[in-house]
Symmetry: C2
Subunit: 345 residues, 2 copies
């Protein structure tokens, strides 16, 4: 039984006014935390994510240390891929590396189905532990989106231009759509299991989809995103979509059956609203600003809050993930600033 | 004395209607050409760029082989940096690497002035050789823009998030603006020398500036870009600005004293026009499409031409550089298609 006490962020996600502006930070759990780095001296990444006690500890640290209004599960977007037959290795300094990239329709047809309770039981156990016993704020579950996952699966690792991914998409649309279907099925099952285990909101990270233009997004991506969000809509949890460098796709996202659009730092809340975006907005302080002096951080944060906090449906976040060089003290001070400033007004 | 016979592209850059749509392709010279790869077996990159005969040969190959309407000098955007005291090494598979990145105001103050005729005589000799003797289409000269050059100088190499660059910009605006001034001075001198040697148009590559939001672009970048283009305005050559992932900055670019805006593939010609962009447009086929089948390439190219070719001031290009895996036959066929299709209509 989920025992969330503070549901402010869920209210904001649903488009309601809240007493103060709730906040969390993408990548709030992980390498920016000294407690995490200490843990990494004893345990591997694999050991941390596969042991619910350890993973729950890392996940709830930012809630305890900074006072953010939600936890987000500590895990990689690659987590579900081995279950469908994709061997992923997270290489330090590189990122996810896939030895046998997807190249043909046969490669796609070989991909299996995920059975979350047997394939990723540790993920679900971590969620239960957190939501049934440890947290008093909502836990956000998540998954990578089809384009972003496919880009790793086709390129074999991180990419700058996604040339192989796009080449397959343009040259073999049947293979592409077959891959999208397989990934949609995996994502839906994986996210459903997270919701049933206790996740109170879901963010779908389509981190790299901004590499596509509007026309290609509409044709190659929008249908599968619509399928995924439609399937998840029956659960009573807010659904969030997010990607970086996707200012040109905001109106396409606004058409999706989602509750919330996550903005990177390139488009402001006001600009998004004036473009015609009607969903709840989440964002969007450039994490690089958190490496600046406090005066600058405060000024920039207030400027963002001034745009978002008096509107219905707004949640503070960064425009991209916390980088390892950002200090915990800064994130604590930032959280306090957001809460205090938005409460006063 | 420059002896250009076919000035169609210059007419289009100046906003005039032309008999057909002129075209060139970013990175048309280099690794996608078998003749270049053969040359690289005998000579190093340094030897090619420093020997005017070799460099001119590589530069004019796409004009001869594909029939494009302009040549663009074969060189790296890092070329002028050693002249002001920045040691750059181009590492295969990585890109430009700078051993001692810029960190302090002292590092910036140490940067010198470029004297193109003694520092990069081979660049000017190559331009003279091409424009006085070899080419019958215009030669486009170019330079990197301050943000893009600064990002390599501060990060020490290519970067994904430009965290150090932004951190310096936010934390030490005085150091930042001092660096912008130094780079502006270098860029103006370097480009002036290219124009005097025979370049008929200038493209300033601000490849990575799309990493900034609108507000930061206005404050930290627009003044220096205005200075550079204003200083170059007195020469009678079209000035082009270009960057990738910068859809959100198009209206800022439209304010600059430039003649042409280069679009990456994310924003179409029609979308740019409906946003209010009034300058000549250049672009914007996604180079990844050139790895597809001819039917797709033809359809996509015609769709772009249908938007651009009957407007005043339009030049076809790709939305980013030619990648090494794109076949020369494809670029030849593409050039023919652009010329024939736009001539018929």
């Amino acid at each position: 039984m989920v025992k969330v006490k503070n549901t402010t962020i869920l209210d904001a996600y649903r488009g309601n006014k809240t007493d103060y502006t709730p906040a969390w930070f993408m990548r709030q759990a992980g390498r920016s935390q000294p407690e995490y780095r200490a843990l990494k001296e004893k345990y591997s990444l694999f050991e941390i994510t596969h042991q619910p006690e350890l993973c729950a500890y890392v996940t709830r640290l930012p809630v305890e240390n900074y006072g953010v209004d939600a936890a987000i599960l500590y895990k990689d977007i690659m987590t579900p891929l081995p279950a469908i037959g994709v061997d992923v290795e997270i290489k330090s300094g590189i990122g996810p590396v896939i030895e046998k990239p997807i190249q043909t329709i046969q490669d796609v047809e070989k991909l299996g189905e995920i059975n979350p309770s047997s394939d990723v039981p540790y993920v679900l156990d971590t969620i239960r532990l957190l939501t049934e016993e440890q947290l008093d704020v909502p836990l956000i579950g998540f998954s990578g989106a089809p384009f972003t996952l496919a880009s790793y699966m086709i390129e074999g690792g991180p990419s700058k231009n996604y040339t192989k991914t796009k080449a397959l998409m343009y040259r073999e649309p049947k293979t592409w759509f077959a891959l999208m279907d397989k990934l949609a099925s995996m994502i839906i099952r994986y996210v459903e299991a997270q919701i049933k285990a206790g996740a109170s909101a879901i963010q779908i990270f389509d981190s790299w989809v901004g590499a596509l233009n509007v026309e290609d997004y509409r044709y190659f991506i929008k249908p599968v995103m619509t399928d995924i969000f439609s399937a998840l809509k029956k659960y009573d949890v807010p659904l969030i979509t997010f990607g970086v460098g996707a200012s040109h796709l905001l109106l396409e996202w606004n058409d999706l059956p989602v509750d919330v659009i996550g903005l990177d730092w390139r488009t402001s809340v006001e600009e998004a609203r004036s473009l015609g975006v009607t969903k709840t907005l989440q964002g969007n302080l450039d994490p690089a600003i958190l490496l600046s002096d406090w005066e600058t951080i405060e000024k920039r944060t207030k400027a963002i809050l001034d745009q978002g906090m008096n509107t219905e449906g707004y949640v503070f976040n960064l425009g991209h993930g916390v980088t390892p060089d950002i200090k915990p003290e800064t994130l604590k001070r930032l959280t306090d600033l957001i809460h205090n400033y938005s409460q006063q007004k």
